[in-house]
C-alpha cells in the first residue's frame, strides 16, 4: 500500500515537471534558453514518472530503471547536438544575452 502512495506521488511530481518543461519551451525567448527548459525539466520529469511506475509494480522496477538511465544518458547528448548545430547554423542569441565568449573566439 505504501509503495502505491509513494509511486503515485512520484508520478505526479514527474508529470508536473513535464508540464513545466513544455511551458518553458513555449515561453523562453531563444533556442538555447528553450533547450535549457526542454532538457532539464523533461528529463527529470520523465525520470520521476518512470521510476514511480517501477515502484508501483515492483516486478518492473529494474526495467524502468534501465529506461530512466537510458534517458538520463541520451537526453543531454541530444540537447548538446541540437545546441551546437543551431550555433553552427547561425541562430542568434536573444537580445537579453550579456556575453558570448564562444562567438568572440570564432571571430578572431
Amino acid at each position: 500500500m505504501w509503495n502505491m502512495i509513494f509511486g503515485e506521488i512520484l508520478i505526479l511530481i514527474g508529470v508536473i515537471f513535464l508540464f513545466l518543461g513544455s511551458l518553458g519551451v513555449f515561453r523562453m525567448p531563444d533556442v538555447y534558453n528553450r533547450l535549457q527548459a526542454g532538457t532539464k525539466c523533461t528529463t527529470l520529469g520523465a525520470f520521476s514518472t518512470i521510476v514511480g511506475v517501477g515502484i508501483i509494480e515492483p516486478s518492473w522496477f529494474l526495467k524502468s530503471l534501465v529506461i530512466a538511465f537510458f534517458l538520463l544518458l541520451t537526453n543531454p547528448v541530444a540537447a548538446h547536438a541540437i545546441g551546437r548545430a543551431s550555433y553552427k547554423m547561425g541562430v542568434k542569441l536573444t537580445e537579453k544575452s550579456v556575453v558570448d565568449q564562444y562567438g568572440e573566439e570564432k571571430d578572431e
Binding site: 508529470v15 508540464f19 524502468s64
Partner: protein, 90 residues
C-alpha cells in the same frame, strides 16, 4: 478503493501531459527557426516516452515497457540525425 484513486489520478496525469504536448505543438508550429522545431520535437519525444510507460501501468501489461524503450532509442537517433544534418555532417 485504490482502483478508484488510480482511476482519478490517471485523468490528472493525462491532463497535464496533454496540456504540455499542446504547448509543445504550438511551439512546433510557431517556432521561427527550424532549430526551435527540433527542440520542441525533442521535448515531445521525452514526454511521449513517459506517456508510454504510464500506459503500461494503466493497462497492467509489463510488455509495453519494451515499446517505450524502443521508442526512446529511435527518438534519440532521429534527433541526433536531424542535428547532424543541420551541422552539415551528414
Amino acid at each position: 478503493m485504490s482502483q478508484a484513486v488510480s482511476g482519478l489520478m490517471w485523468y490528472i496525469y493525462a491532463g497535464f501531459i496533454l496540456l504540455g504536448l499542446f504547448l509543445l505543438f504550438l511551439r512546433f508550429i510557431l517556432g521561427p527557426t527550424s532549430s526551435d522545431r527540433v527542440v520542441s520535437v525533442d521535448a515531445m519525444t521525452t514526454v511521449t516516452t513517459a506517456l508510454l510507460v504510464l500506459f503500461s501501468l494503466f493497462f497492467k501489461r509489463g510488455i509495453y515497457m519494451d515499446v517505450a524503450l524502443v521508442y526512446a532509442v529511435l527518438a534519440f537517433i532521429t534527433v541526433l540525425a536531424i542535428a547532424r544534418y543541420f551541422e552539415g555532417g551528414l
